[in-house]
Symmetry: D2
Subunit: 136 residues, 4 copies
C-alpha cells in the first residue's frame, strides 16, 4: 500500500451559487492527488505520455460528506492498495483545514497505448517503483 498527501486551495471559479465547491470539480482534485503520488515515485505522468502511454479514467465514484468552500485548503490523501495490472485504482480521502473528512471516492484508470488506443501493461518503471510498497 502506498499513500500520499497534497494540498489544493479552492478557487473562486470552483464555487457555485449554492456557495459550495461544485461537485464536478472533485474529479480534478482526484487527478491532482494521483499526479502528485506518481510524481513522488519519480514518474511524472507527463513522462508516461511522452513514452506513448495514456491513462484515461474508466470509472469514478465520489461521496460528498461535507461541503468545501471558497479559499479552503483541502488535503487530498491518495492511496493505492494494489499493484496495478492493466488497470490502476486510486482511493481518495479529502479533508478540510479543520481536519474533517469531506469527501471519499475512488477512480479506476486504464493504461493504453497512445497510438493504438488499446490496453497495455503498466510500464516497468512504475511497477518497479511501486513494488517496495507491496511486499509484506
Amino acid at each position: 500500500m502506498i499513500s500520499g498527501e497534497t494540498k489544493v486551495r479552492i478557487r473562486y471559479s470552483e464555487t457555485d451559487q449554492m456557495g459550495y465547491v461544485y461537485h464536478g470539480k472533485y474529479a480534478e482534485f482526484y487527478e491532482i492527488g494521483r499526479t502528485e503520488l506518481i510524481r513522488r515515485l519519480g514518474l511524472p505522468y507527463g513522462e508516461l505520455e511522452k513514452q506513448g502511454i495514456f491513462m484515461p479514467v474508466l470509472e469514478i465514484h465520489s461521496r460528498y460528506i461535507k461541503p468545501a468552500y471558497y479559499d479552503d485548503e483541502i488535503t487530498i490523501k491518495t492511496t493505492v492498495r494494489e499493484l496495478p495490472g492493466v488497470r490502476m485504482m486510486f482511493h481518495y480521502n479529502l479533508f478540510n483545514q479543520e481536519g474533517e473528512l469531506i469527501n471519499q471516492g475512488h477512480a479506476t484508470l486504464i493504461f493504453i497505448d497512445g497510438k493504438s488506443r488499446r490496453p497495455i501493461r503498466p510500464p516497468h518503471e512504475l511497477i518497479d517503483a511501486l513494488q517496495p510498497y507491496f511486499t509484506e
Copy 2:
C-alpha cells in the same frame, strides 16, 4: 418511472490533450440531464432555489465506456426510478451521435433548506408532478 432525453454539443474547452472529453465534465452533463427532466415537469430548478430549496449532490458514480470527442452531439438520457424522499436519485445513459452507449452513471441529490442547510422533504409540486409516472 420517468425518463427524458436532452442533447449537448461538446465544446473545445471540454476536451483534454488526450483528445477525449475530460472525464470530470460528465458531472455537468448529468446536471444538464436532470435540469431538463425537472423543467419538463414544470418545475425549473431555479424556481426551487427561489423557494429556498437547494439540491446538493451526495454521491455520484460514472462509468466511461467509450470516449466522447470535440463537437460530438451527446444524448443524455435521464431516468428517475423511484419517487424521491429526502433524497432523489437520477440514472444516466449517454449516447454519441452513432447511438453508441458511451457512459453510464447515477447521481444522488438531497433536498435541503437553503437557510438551515438541513435536509427537508421534497416540495409537494414535485411529488405531485412525479406521482402519475409511479403508479402501476
Copy 3:
C-alpha cells in the same frame, strides 16, 4: 461582414458564489459563437483540425456589462468584420432573454500548421465561403 447568432443555456457549474456566471466562462461562449458561425459556412472547425489546421487564440478582450444568471438563455451574436489573413478576428455581443446587452468583446485567432505549429494562411475553402460577405 458576416454575423450569426446562437444560444446557450447557463449551467449551474458556470455560476459562482456571487450568484453570477463566472467571468472566465465567457471565453467558452465566444468559442461556441465562432464555432457555430464557421459551421454555417460549411466548415466545421473539427474538419479544419483534421486537415492539420489549428486556431489558437492570440488575444481576447471582454467587457462585462450586466451579470448572467443560472438558467439564463444567452444569445451570442458573433461578427467577422474583415476577411482573415493569418489572423482572424471575431466580435461578440451577448444578450440575455430580456434582450439586454450583457457582454461585449472580441477574440483574435491565428491559423497554424498542426505539425510545425507555425502560422499559415487560412484554408481556401474558408476564404471562398467568406468572400461573398465581403464584397461591396
Copy 4:
C-alpha cells in the same frame, strides 16, 4: 505600486486537444494572482465577502504570447499600479518555468455592496494596507 508572485501547476483538465492550456483558463490564473496579492496585504478576499463587499470583474484583456502545457509551473506576477477608487485594476505577467513571458493582461474589478449590488468605495483596511506602496 505593489507586485506579488504566486505559482500554479497546470492541471490535466486545463489542457485542450491542441495540447495547450485552454485560453479561457487564464482568467482563473489572474484570479489566483490577485487573491494571493490581497491575502498578503492581510485582507483575504473571503473576508471582504463576509463584510458584504463583492468584487465582480468589469473587464478583462489577455494576450497569449506562448502556450502553456500540462504540468508546467506557471509564475503569476500581479501588479497594482494605482490606488483603487470604485474600481481596481490588476496587471498580469505570466512566466513558464524557463522564465519566458507567456501571457500578459489585465483585469478591472468593481467594489459592490453584496445586498444592493451597487458600486461602493473600497474598504478602509484595503486602502490603508495599500497606501504605503503608493507614496513617492
